[in-house]
């Protein structure tokens, strides 16, 4: 059974990765998870300087989901390189550094520092960050900025460059095409969906920042629709993320057209979800006479006789 997938010259041993911000830097859970059975680890988003993150409360549970506003708390790229990377190099999996920043320059500077390091196999760029120079609006909702970030980063690395798109836009395909045009190697779809919850007794938001990011099974249908829109817009591989808990969930994403998947929130429930999802996909393919998990990718059969105009919701 072939499970692997290649981006540029980097081979992932299987198509199941763990999502940024849901697995620490990869060094928190070794005794609970056999990391060598994961396709790869997307690190917690790294910024140039350490970030304390947002005040508490930072998380709250919702129906089949959770809201978070961690505020990209992280130790900063220097400490990551010095204190975390040496241990990560020993892991038999791919380490993709996820980068968050508040200016295009910061994205570039963080990437340059990491690009020089062995053991960093590629980059995932979190564009769902406030653009400090422009009053805090998210980079990820402006196609021109996402274009520019991709262009600048592409010039600076020959390693796989993955742009992680936000679902909080009207047409994600527009952003996907912009990234493809500027040389991105792949797209991660989706980051969290903006959401909110209220404590009616205190009449306060349930998380300190009022709104936060919704993740978990509740968003899986949204994520699948965004992946579907994206794979129909670009030729570069798409990494599906959003609400994956079981291998069946992952199979949905592959069938829709994702080349790989990431496990986020489910790691909080079962840190070894990635391993069981990879196993499940392998078994499913074996049972269906497929010799490569990749044979599932983009095998969705849609009803071509239903036109857009007919398909009013």
């Amino acid at each position: 059974m072939i499970e692997s997938f290649k981006l540029r010259d980097v081979e992932f041993k299987n198509r199941v990765l763990v999502a940024s911000g849901t697995f620490g830097y990869g060094d928190e859970v070794p005794d609970l998870v056999d990391i060598s059975r994961l396709g790869g680890i997307m690190t917690k988003s790294l910024s140039m300087k350490p970030r304390d993150g947002n005040p508490n409360p930072r998380i709250t549970e919702t129906s089949s989901g959770m809201l978070n506003s961690i505020g990209l708390a992280n130790i900063g790229v220097h400490k990551f390189i010095n204190e975390k990377l040496p241990a990560l190099r020993a892991f038999d999996t791919r380490i993709i550094a996820n980068i968050a920043a508040s200016s295009v320059e910061e994205y570039c500077a963080v990437l340059e520092l990491l690009d020089a390091e062995s053991g960093v196999h590629g980059f995932e760029i979190n564009v769902s960050c406030p653009n400090v120079k422009e009053g805090g609006l998210s980079f990820g909702t402006d196609p021109a900025l996402v274009s520019r970030i991709t262009r600048e980063l592409r010039r600076r690395t020959a390693k796989p460059l993955i742009i992680k798109l936000t679902p909080n836009v009207t047409h994600i395909s527009e952003f996907a095409r912009a990234c493809e045009a500027e040389g991105a190697d792949a797209l991660s779809v989706i980051n969290t969906v903006i959401g909110m919850a209220v404590n009616i007794h205190k009449r306060t938001p349930k998380i300190a920042t009022t709104t936060g990011g919704l993740s978990g099974p509740a968003v899986k249908p949204i994520a699948l629709a965004k992946v579907y829109e994206t794979v129909n817009a670009v030729k570069i591989p798409v990494i599906g993320i959003g609400g994956i808990v079981t291998w069946e969930d992952a199979a949905e994403f592959l069938i829709v057209g994702a080349s790989m998947v990431q496990i986020g929130t489910a790691n909080f429930i079962n840190p070894s979800t990635g391993v069981t999802v990879a196993e499940g996909l392998k078994d499913f393919c074996a049972k269906n006479g497929l010799s490569d998990v990749g044979a599932l990718v983009r095998t969705l059969q849609t009803n071509k006789t239903i036109s857009v105009v007919d398909s009013w919701l």
């Binding site: 609970l32 959770m66 909080f268 429930i269 070894s272």
Partner: protein, 255 residues
Amino acid sequence: MKQELVPIHSFQQLTPEILELTFISDHLAATAQPGQFINIRVDNSFPLLRRPFSIFNIEGNKVSIIFNVIGTGTKVLARKRTGDTIDVLGPCGNHFLSFVDDSFDTALFIGGGIGVAPFPFLTSRYPAGKKVLTYVGGRQKDLIVQKGLRDPRIATDDGSLGFSGTVLDLIKRDLAASPVSRPRFFVCGPTRMMKAVAEYAKEIGASCYASLECDMACGIGLCQGCNIEMAAGDKKYRLVCKDGTIFETQSVKLP
């Protein structure tokens, strides 16, 4: 730390409000320390997140927790049956015994409501030589658990059991009547109560360690969701699930 499916051994109704659930785990029996918690997936798909519970006691390989039914998770848990398995991850967090040393003489164990949960286990593992006073407070008698505690002194808001008033009022009265030498407070309960105890401890120059509670997504340091603000130091926040749940109360800003 391990994730395991463990069989439920028994349920026992400790009070009309509070249930004890006992399950079998060699792993926890061998490794857990008083004050640590376990994180339970109460059901396969609903609710989504695990629910943290203090280890109430361990006897042989029988591990127990106590809870009252307050929401979705505890409702599902209360409907389990003997022989069912539950998905348990633990032990998590730091523990009380790491704060037991020669710098104090008398420990005051102070539990508020369901916050009494860690004290029976702590009682059973507490160094034999050291003096302990145990206090339990609650709104009314159905919320008072005494099992596994040594000579608990009880306070209820409505006076339905023991002293009528808050547990802190009772402690103040007792300490005024018979002062103890070099006390250290170990407290677990509602935030308001822990804050009051912490303040009192500060007043009388005693140290105070509180086991904090907050919403947790993972319980093992992965999500960064359970931050608590530090009163001072280089780190603005620490994680309740990993750096705690037990903190020296002057080191943190209680919410």
